[in-house]
Symmetry: C2
Subunit: 244 residues, 2 copies
């Protein structure tokens, strides 16, 4: 039986009240958006590789915060630290002054949603409370959502909990905010490690396929894996499976 | 010259980028909403007086948190502590069991907006980033906003900053979230003490008249006072003054 036709009643009791969405990769196409902005600068570098390098610096930077080596630091500031480093690595540090770097760093506030997102969220919102649960900071998420027309009931971020995913304080923090048991919160994400950490907290999980998250040159395995309550091709498919 | 016809260019340079709204009293009619829910219980008590008593317990309860006598406690929990106390005082504690108290406590998640709010916010949102800055907790604000159809760019709460207004960490916290100087954040509120505290942080302030905040039996002076950048009859008037 394909996960897409699993019967809800078989796996979701109780039904979730809150759907919490990972954002980078799940809701928005960071690779395509960053690549486009970098290419527009005409630096003569491989913009897709630059986007991947920028993103690759993200997890180690957060790890410094998670380990306590670095105090609480917003993603905006982490993105800027990584940007300064990779501009050197790509040999174009001399091409961008501080103002240009500030502007480029804000490209993360201008990420485009995947094509199914606006309509999918509108359908899901009729039945569920929708929130973000992103490592992106609140201002970034507010800018991005306003620009893309994403209507959340609540924007939640690692910034609210002063813990980055996959720390359990983030998933359990969402449950606390909405005063629901973990079993009534479902994380929606395109990343199995995020979903596994939510599941370890007792939350429900829905995997969303984003085969192009890392661009067309990087293979991204989106095959179903055991453990997730739902596996959806996109948010329209998720809405259908959840009866919206 | 009436404050309502003051020229913006005379007082607002730079123009604010972010409008942060107080919620209880400014955006929603807590008195009328709580009175209605209490009256519907048929307890044979003065529902308007009960609403006033419930609200009167709010500031002392927050003061315990602000002083450190009580650890961080959400408004939902403070509301419940006050409710338990005033049910005794009104002689009806025996009429409501725990489930009934939980349900009544959630009346604060179901407060109705003043009639000008939905349209006023929609007009203001075309030009400004709109957020809440409320002592209400995030879940309360999300429920209330969903029910009333209020579309914020971001819901911010004392819960994010672990400080209650009028602690400066709240006003400055909004500026930090949006990465703006205090002069580019304007607090919109129906309470002069809230506005004064924001002003002390360097923020702009707009006073909104809510003559019926405490119900028809309590006189509420809404006359203009010096110090505020703007004085508006309601959110429609504020939108007009801000060129929306």
């Amino acid at each position: 039986m394909s996960p897409a036709v699993v019967r809800l009643a078989d796996c979701l009791d109780p039904m979730p009240a809150v759907l919490a969405f990972d954002v980078f990769g799940t809701v928005v196409d960071w690779h395509g958006s960053i690549e486009r902005e970098v290419a527009a600068l005409g630096l003569g570098i491989d913009a897709g590789a630059f986007a991947l390098a920028w993103r690759a610096g993200y997890r180690p930077a957060m790890a410094k915060v998670r380990s306590g080596a670095l105090g609480w630091t917003k993603i905006d500031a982490l993105h800027r630290m990584i940007l300064d480093e990779i501009l050197e690595r790509f040999g174009v540090a001399h091409r961008l002054d501080d103002a240009a770097r500030r502007s480029l760093n804000l490209a993360w506030h201008r990420l485009d949603p995947w094509p199914d997102v606006v309509e999918g969220l509108n359908r899901l919102r009729k039945r569920f409370m929708l929130c973000t649960l992103s490592n992106g900071n609140l201002g970034l998420l507010a800018d991005l959502s306003r620009r893309a027309g994403l209507h959340w009931d609540l924007i939640l971020s690692a910034e609210v909990f002063h813990h980055y995913k996959p720390d359990p304080q983030t998933y359990l923090g969402v449950c606390d905010v909405f005063d629901v048991e973990p079993a009534r919160m479902m994380l929606v994400a395109a990343h199995h490690d995020d979903l596994e950490s939510a599941r370890a907290c007792g939350c429900r999980t829905a995997y969303v396929e984003r085969p192009l998250e890392f661009g067309p040159s990087v293979a991204n395995d989106v095959a179903p894996r055991p453990g997730n309550d739902l596996h959806a091709r996109d948010l329209g498919d998720l809405a259908r499976q959840l009866g919206c």
